[in-house]
């Protein structure tokens, strides 16, 4: 498919940025913001725009930009203040530039159908990348990360190969392969030995190189991905300037005063959502100022400040984003809605006594206006139709709360497509799970003394108050891990100041910025899951909805099916022999157990302190810490003492068995008597059937 050349491709982006800054600056001047550098900056912007427009032969835009310069020069020289008249003139010029820019649309592909997609909002053109391209980039990066997983697995292979080489060398060094009287045989065996040495050296070098490049690749890719994901999202405040401009224009036309405020602009959201919601918000703000806010005289009479307040707020609520527009005006005249509906024949006599919420619904249906006159700005009854249309395109809910004389609040709640948030990453039943950080109030280790009380109890003391307590494993339908001393290791306090709860997790992992994605419709999940993020390897991670968890904790909910689908903690196989590790791992995995491996007692202790295990399967003879010492140390550790250990060994003397028992091992299996069925039976007896 061929594209016609687009001569304005870069000009559009540049002009849009310059225009946005000019509008923002003019609004500041109008509000009386005094900043000595502001006027020179605006002059520079107008001048740059003029030059750029001339280059692409947009004479009209260049002339308007020149006129903006002319209008601003007296301000720089402090010859004139920024009067209402000057403001009107400046905004007219900027509007004219905006209008000309709209006509510089990119050419469409010749063969393609007319684009059915919703009109992209002009303001959001500052996303300079094609979103499709960006998605493709993200996909590529994710897939590259997955490939990196293969490199990691290859490293595992390499490690095993190194083990084989070691074995070969050991075998060659044994007396049987040596010549008579212990003299080295310098024949074929010596050559083989030299080759094996060489093989080992090569593998060691390769191992080092691969590890280093894999580490580096992983780090680089993670950074690139984070940046790319952020690019895909826009801060909500990208739409605030134009909303403020709308409020200003409507107020000026209607002869009212308005103080426009915003909140939550730093939330980063999907550009498509912002583009679609922007048109609706313009209408909502327009309605609030035109219909809601009273004139100065009316407000003074009602005892309100002369300037009406309009607040636009963006807030994330679980897996949705709420866009709220609140005003302190007169509220919606529901009697007028009733009269308008009757006049249009929508409301019959017998439905005259509709309740307030039903009238509001009627108003949201559209086609009604309560304004007595139709003006340039409002009064045709189409405002709410625009809101309804945007809401239906985004699958959003619209609610309106209104109180006579006090004002109105219209809320559009949109399901999230993509949004980024800071999250506290925690581990629950071996899974890393994210809790949105804005809901987290604190976290503390559950003390040994608390733990016993926690086993059956549903509250815990935090800063002197008893908080409802719920192990996060319950709403996630995971088996609550026995954890340290019979309960989760850490309590995370979540919720709002008025509704707090403590949720139990196994451990804290850290704080990360994650991009939340919605779950597909065909994933029948419980409401506790707000969405998912993808980790560096492209695997999903659960993001929980704190409001749901707090609600469950406060109600004392325990899903009935929780114990029915247990997912057990893994078994830790500790053995310095690769063959034994692989053999035991494969037997246990075939029987449905999750398995982790450690090559030494020291490594096993390290792992055991980081993760919850159901059982240790330990070799006795290992370099460094032997199996007896390992068991002894776990038994002495208050966090590990309840985890059963099985000793597996080639030593089968009665003395060894006695020693095993003395250090606290629960079973003893001799390698010479090794039997798969016996091993599994023993494990089942100790930890149950974990499939």
């Amino acid at each position: 498919m061929s594209m016609r050349p687009d001569p304005y491709k870069y000009f559009r982006v540049e002009a849009r940025e310059l225009l946005d800054q000019l509008v923002q600056g003019a609004l500041s001047l109008e509000k009386g913001v005094f900043a000595p550098e502001l006027v020179p900056k605006l002059l520079r912007l107008a001048h740059t725009l003029k030059g750029a427009a001339r280059v692409v032969k947009q004479v009209e835009i260049a002339e308007f930009a020149h006129a903006v310069e002319e209008a601003l020069v007296p301000l720089r020289d402090q010859a004139k203040p920024f009067s209402q008249e000057l403001a009107r003139h400046a905004f007219e010029l900027l509007d004219a530039i905006e209008e000309r820019l709209k006509h510089l649309e990119p050419p469409r592909e010749a063969e393609s159908e007319p684009a059915p997609r919703p009109p992209a909002d002009e303001l959001l053109r500052t996303v300079r990348v094609d979103i499709g391209e960006m998605d493709a980039l993200l996909d590529g990066i994710l897939e590259a990360n997955t490939q990196l997983g293969s490199v990691r697995r290859a490293l595992g292979t390499l490690e095993r190969a190194r083990g084989v080489a070691d074995l070969l060398l050991a075998q060659l060094a044994s007396p049987r392969t040596r010549g008579a009287e212990g003299q080295p045989d310098l024949g074929p065996a010596a050559r083989t030995s030299a080759w094996a040495e060489e093989l080992r050296a090569e593998i060691v070098a390769l191992d080092r190189q691969l590890t280093s490049s894999a580490d580096q690749l992983e780090r680089e890719l993670r950074q690139v991905r984070q940046r790319a994901e952020q690019l895909r999202l826009l801060p909500a405040n990208a739409v605030f300037a134009s909303l403020e401009r709308t409020a200003r224009d409507v107020a000026q036309t209607a002869g009212k005063r308005v103080a426009f405020e915003t909140k939550g602009g730093e939330a980063r959201l999907d550009a498509h959502v912002l583009a679609t919601i922007h048109g609706a918000l313009v209408q909502v703000v327009r309605n609030a100022v035109a219909h809601g806010i009273e004139t100065e005289a009316e407000r003074t009479q009602a005892g309100k400040p002369t300037a009406g307040r309009v607040l636009v707020e963006v807030a994330r609520v679980g897996n949705r984003v709420a866009f709220r527009c609140q005003d302190d005006g007169r509220g919606v005249d529901l009697e007028a809605v009733r009269r308008a509906a009757q006049k249009k024949g929508i409301l019959s006599k017998d439905t005259e006594h509709l309740r307030l919420d039903e009238l509001v619904q009627l108003l949201l249906k559209g086609g009604l206006t309560t304004a007595r006159t139709v003006s340039e700005m409002s009064g045709r009854g189409i405002g709410l139709d625009v809101v309804r249309d945007a809401a239906s395109r985004l699958g959003a809910e619209v609610t309106l709360k209104t109180e006579a004389g006090r004002g109105s609040a219209l809320e559009i709640v949109v399901p999230i497509s993509l949004s980024s948030l800071d999250a506290l990453m925690v581990e629950v039943a071996g899974m890393t799970t994210a809790i949105p950080l804005d809901a987290v109030r604190g976290a503390f280790h559950i003390r040994t003394a608390d733990a016993a009380r926690l086993a059956g109890a549903d509250s815990i003391v935090y800063e002197g108050n008893a908080l409802p307590f719920l192990p996060l494993a319950y709403p996630l339908r995971e088996k609550v891990s026995p954890g340290h001393n019979g309960g989760p290791g850490v309590a995370v306090v979540v919720g709002t100041d008025s509704e707090l709860a403590a949720i139990g997790v196994d451990r804290l992992v850290g704080i990360m910025n994650v991009v939340m994605r919605p779950l597909p419709r065909v994933a029948p999940v419980d409401p506790v899951v707000a969405g998912a993020a993808l980790d560096a390897e492209g695997n999903p991670q659960i993001i929980v909805d704190p409001a749901v968890v707090v609600g469950m904790a406060r109600r004392g909910d325990r899903p009935a099916s929780a114990p029915e689908v247990p997912r057990a903690a893994p078994v830790l196989v500790v053995d310095d022999s690769l063959t034994t590790r692989m053999l035991e791992q494969s037997i246990l995995e075939s029987a449905g157990y999750q398995v982790d491996c450690a090559v030494s007692g020291e490594e096993a202790l390290e792992k055991a302190r980081q993760r919850q295990y159901a059982l240790f399967l330990v070799d006795i003879e290992m370099p460094g810490m032997d199996g007896f010492t390992f068991v002894e140390q776990t038994r002495a550790d208050p966090f590990l003492r309840e985890i059963p250990s099985i000793l597996v060994t080639s030593r089968s003397s009665a003395e060894d068995r006695r020693r095993g028992q003395a250090v606290g091992a629960r079973a003893y299996i001799a390698k010479s008597e090794f039997d798969q069925a016996h091993l599994l039976r023993t494990i089942r007896t100790l930890v149950g059937n974990n499939q």
Binding site: L476, R477, E478, G538, P540, G592
Partner: protein, 180 residues
């Protein structure tokens, strides 16, 4: 050099074969056959139509999610997409619930993965070897045909029917839930 005549003969032969290849008609798709993926569920043979699948993944990490549906295993990540995973065995009425290593990707409105235990290969089957299946009692409606692959009779799982059943379930989450 003695080998030269042989080499030039060989070169000539290759050149003729190359030219001949252009003169032959293009091989056309054989519309009288179907491509099947042969899979094993709890030791029983089944088949999926390749035309109904979009890919095959092995050993992907499945993240379990809390759900009231036992056949729903969780989600996996594939090319930046979050894909729900259903247990093929559970959907077919098997009691054993054990996530298989293999996942067949099915592209519908949303991509879905069907997990199964054994992948037994690809078969190119003549249409004549595929016959309608008689539905027995309350057996699953997803088996509408069976195929003879070698000496084995394999029920063909109709993915379209399976998706319809998954989508029909009324306990799928609503996009928006009311706050209590």
């Amino acid at each position: 050099m003695a080998t030269l005549p042989n080499s030039s003969n060989r070169a000539e032969e290759l050149r003729r074969a190359f030219d001949r290849a252009f003169a032959e008609p293009h091989p056309t798709k054989d519309y009288n056959t179907d491509d099947l993926l042969c899979v094993g569920v709890s030791g029983d043979p089944f088949a999926l139509r390749m035309s109904e699948t979009a890919g095959l993944l092995v050993d992907r990490k499945i993240v379990p999610l809390p759900s009231s549906r036992t056949e729903f295993l969780g989600v996996l990540g594939f090319r930046g997409e979050i894909v729900p995973v259903y247990d093929l065995g559970a959907l077919l009425g098997y009691d054993e619930r054990k996530a298989g290593r293999w996942n067949a990707l099915v592209r519908a409105e949303n991509t879905i993965a069907l997990a199964f235990g054994q992948f037994e290969g690809h078969a190119h089957v003549a249409r004549g070897d595929i016959v309608p299946a008689e539905r027995l009692g309350n057996g699953p409606v997803y088996i509408q045909e069976v195929a003879r692959v070698g000496t084995i009779i394999r029920p063909i799982v109709s993915i379209a029917a399976l998706l319809e059943a998954i989508n029909k379930r009324d306990d799928l989450p609503q996009m928006i839930k009311e706050e209590p």
